[in-house]
Amino acid sequence: MKYVDEYRDRTLATRLAERITHTVHRPWTIMEVCGGQTHAIVRFGLDALLPTSLTVVHGPGCPVCVTPVGLIDQALQLASLPHVIFCSFGDMLRVPGSRGDLFGVKAAGGDVRIVYSPLDAMTLARANPAREVVCFAVGFETTAPAWAMAVIQAKESGLTNFSLLVAHVLVPPAMEAILSSPQNRVQGFLAAGHVCTVVGYEDYEALAARYRVPIVVAGFEPLDILEGIGLLVTQLEEGRAEVENQYVRSVRREGNRQARAVVEEVFEPAPRTWRGIGEIARSGLQLRPAYAAYDAAVRFREALSQAGSVGVEDPDCRSGLVLQGLIKPPDCPAFATRCTPEQPLGAPMVSSEGACAAYYRYRSHVKRET
C-alpha cells in the first residue's frame, strides 16, 4: 500500500464513472472547492468520464488565486526592502499585484526566495541574523498549522528576525458566501480532503443542513474524486443533503486535534478580502496579539503605509465569477485571448492550481475548438 498508484487504477476508475452515469438521471451542478482537485480532474481527464448532464464547476480553493491585489502589493513592498529576505511558496511569485509581481522585485534586486516549508524560512532566519526574514503566509486551513508551528518555534527559540505577512483564508465562510449568493447554481460540494484532515468536517454539517446541500469530503487521486462525485450524485438523486467522508484514510470527523490546537494558539479569525469576490466576514486568520512581534503588518507598519496599493483588477477579468462557480474559464471573453499564462489578467490564470490555468493547460480538443 503506497497510497498513490492504487488510486489511479484504470479499471476501477472506469467502473466508478459508469456507476455515476448510471446514477445520474437529472442535470446537476456540483463544485469541487479545492484547486488540487481541479488540477487532478484536468490532469487525468476525469471530466471526459462523466455524463454530460453533470456539470462540475471549480471553486475558490486556490490560495494563490484568492489573495487580493492589496496584499500582493504589500508583499512587493516588503520584498523590495534592502534588509529583508522575502520567503514565498513558488506559485506566488508570478501573481500580479497592481505594479508587477515578486519575480519583478527579484529581478530589480529584491532578495526573494522560494521555500518548500516554513521550516526552511526559519533556517534562513537563523543563518542571517542581521537580516529580516519575512514570509508570505498564504494558505487554507491545511497550511495554517505549519505557519503556527513556525511562530511558536520562533518564540520559544528567541528568533527575533522572523515574521509573517498573513494572507490566510478559511473555506467554510467562502462556501457559505457562494451558497447565499442569489445567483448560486451549486447544488453539491466536493469538500477539500486536506483542509478537513486538519479541521475535520463538523462545520460542514451545519452548512449542509442550513442550505440543504450535500457535501462529500474527498481526496485528491482520481479514484477519490470519482468516488466522491458518485456519493454526491447519489445524495442529490435521493434528495439527501448530508456530509459524507470519502477520504476516510486521512480524515476524521474532528480533524487533527494537535494541529487545531496550535492554530488556535497562534491565530484568530479575521475579516478577509478574497480576490474577485470581495470581503467575507471571519473568512481569514490573523496573528493573536500575543504573537504581534511576528506579524509583518505590525513590524513593518511604516514601510507598508507607503505601499500605495490601488488594488485594481483588470475589468475584463471574470475571475470572481469563475472562483464562485458562476462561469467556467472558457466562458470568460478574455480566456485564451487577452488572458494567457504568459500574460495573465487574473490570478486563476497564474497558479497551476488556478482554474483558468488548469483549463488552459489541459483542456481537451473539443473545449479548445469551441
Binding site: T14, G90, I114, Y116, T142, T143, S351, Y360, Y362, R368
Partner: protein, 351 residues
C-alpha cells in the same frame, strides 16, 4: 555516464598562486595567460588547440558541416551525476547529434565572476575535459571573461560545436509526417530532479542522478544504419512535452502519446509528487526522441537498446494528421488531454 575512468588529468595551481578569480584573469594580460596555460590548456590539450589562434580550423571532409552553440548557467554548479562542465560538453555534443551530425570539435567560453574560487573552476574544467575525452570530441578553442562580483553566478559556460553530417542524411522537424512513430530513448526527469534536489530551499535526498550523457554514438549508429530518421530532438529545458510541441508546430502535424508507456523512475515520480511537478515537463540532458516511419521502428529500437544511454528505448506514440499542431496525451485512465507548452519555468507547486 560514459566517462573514461582511467583518465585522470592533473591540474596544479596557477603559478601566481592566486586562489580566486580576479578581474585581471579576464584582462588579457599575464594572469589570463597563466589561467589559459595552467587551467584550460592543461585540461583540453590537443594539436588543434595548441595553435592558440582566435579560432580553430579543421580538415574538411565530404558532407555538410553542422555548427551549434549553447550557454550553461545551471545553479548549483555541481549536482548529483554531473556539473556545469560535463553538462556544457554533453549539451553541445547532443545538439550536433540531433542534426544527424558526427561532432568534430567544441569551443569553450567562460564568463567567471570575480571572487570565484579557482579550485571550483578547476573542478569544472577537469570535468569538461573528462567529458570531452570520453565523448571523443576535443575542445579546440576558447575564451574567458571575468565580470565584477555580483554580476555573474560563479561560472557561466558557453560551448559551440562543429559536426559533419554524412552525405545524404537529412534530419529536420519539418520532415516529420503523419504515421511516423515517436520513440523515446529512456526514462524522464532525472536531470531536473537531481538539480532541484540540491537547490537551497527545496532540497531533498534521494538517489536521483542527472541523466547527462553524450548521445552522438547511439545517434551515429542510427544514422549509419540507413534508417529513415525524420527528426531527432533532445529533451532539455521544458522536457518531453515542450520538445513534442516544438516539433508538432514545425511539421504542422498532430501527435498522440501514451502516458502509461513513458518511463519515469519511482524516485523521480516521488520527487515530482512532492514538489507538484509534472515529469513530462522536467529537463533531461541525456534523453531524446526520434521520429521514424513505422517500417523502421523495430530496427531503430534494436539499435537504441544496444547503447547504455538508450537501453530503455520505447515507442511512446505516433504522429497524426488530426488537430495540428496539438500534442494529445492519453492519460493513465485512458482519457485524453492536451500536452501544452509550459508558459515559464515549472515552479515547485506547494499550496
Amino acid at each position: 555516464m560514459t566517462e573514461n575512468k582511467s583518465y585522470e588529468p592533473a591540474c596544479p595551481l596557477p603559478a601566481s598562486g592566486k586562489q580566486t578569480v580576479q578581474l585581471a584573469h579576464g584582462g588579457g594580460g599575464r594572469l589570463m595567460q597563466e589561467l589559459i596555460r595552467d587551467v584550460f590548456l592543461r585540461a583540453f590539450d590537443n594539436p588543434m588547440l595548441a595553435h592558440l589562434h582566435d579560432g580553430a580550423t579543421f580538415p574538411n571532409e565530404k558532407g555538410t558541416l553542422a555548427f551549434t552553440t549553447d550557454s550553461y548557467v545551471v545553479h548549483p554548479l555541481f549536482f548529483p551525476g554531473g556539473d556545469i562542465g560535463s553538462l556544457a560538453v554533453h549539451g553541445t555534443v547532443n545538439d550536433l547529434a540531433m542534426c544527424g551530425a558526427k561532432p568534430l570539435c567544441l569551443s569553450a567560453g567562460f564568463i567567471l565572476e570575480e571572487g570565484l574560487n579557482l579550485e571550483t573552476l578547476r573542478r569544472v574544467v577537469e570535468s569538461m575535459a573528462k567529458a570531452a575525452q570520453a565523448a571523443g570530441v576535443p575542445i579546440v578553442t576558447g575564451d574567458t571573461k571575468v565580470v565584477d562580483r555580483g554580476k555573474g553566478d560563479g561560472i557561466f559556460v558557453n560551448t559551440a560545436g562543429v559536426g559533419l553530417v554524412p552525405a545524404g542524411v537529412r534530419v529536420l522537424p519539418e520532415l516529420v509526417r503523419p504515421g511516423d512513430a515517436i520513440l523515446l530513448s529512456g526514462d524522464l526527469g532525472c536531470h531536473g530532479i537531481a538539480v532541484l534536489s540540491v537547490r537551497e530551499g527545496v532540497a531533498f535526498t534521494g538517489n536521483v542522478e542527472s541523466d547527462s550523457a553524450p548521445l552522438h554514438q547511439v545517434v551515429g549508429e542510427l544514422v549509419d544504419s540507413g534508417i529513415e530518421i525524420h527528426c531527432l530532438r533532445d529533451l532539455t529545458r521544458g522536457g518531453l512535452a515542450s520538445a513534442l510541441n516544438e516539433i508538432a508546430v514545425a511539421a504542422k502535424v498532430g501527435m498522440v502519446s501514451d502516458e502509461a508507456v513513458i518511463p519515469v523512475l519511482e524516485t523521480v515520480r516521488g520527487a515530482c509528487e512532492l514538489m507538484g511537478l509534472d515529469p513530462l515537463y522536467v529537463a533531461n540532458e541525456g534523453r531524446f526522441v526520434a521520429m521514424v516511419p513505422e517500417s523502421d521502428v523495430e530496427s531503430a529500437l534494436t539499435i537504441m537498446r544496444r547503447h547504455s544511454v538508450a537501453h530503455q528505448a520505447v515507442r511512446i506514440g505516433r504522429v497524426t494528421a488530426e488537430n495540428p499542431p496539438l500534442v494529445a496525451l492519453q492519460t493513465l485512465l485512458g482519457t485524453h488531454r492536451i500536452l501544452d507548452l509550459l508558459s515559464g519555468e515549472q515552479l515547485p507547486r506547494i499550496c
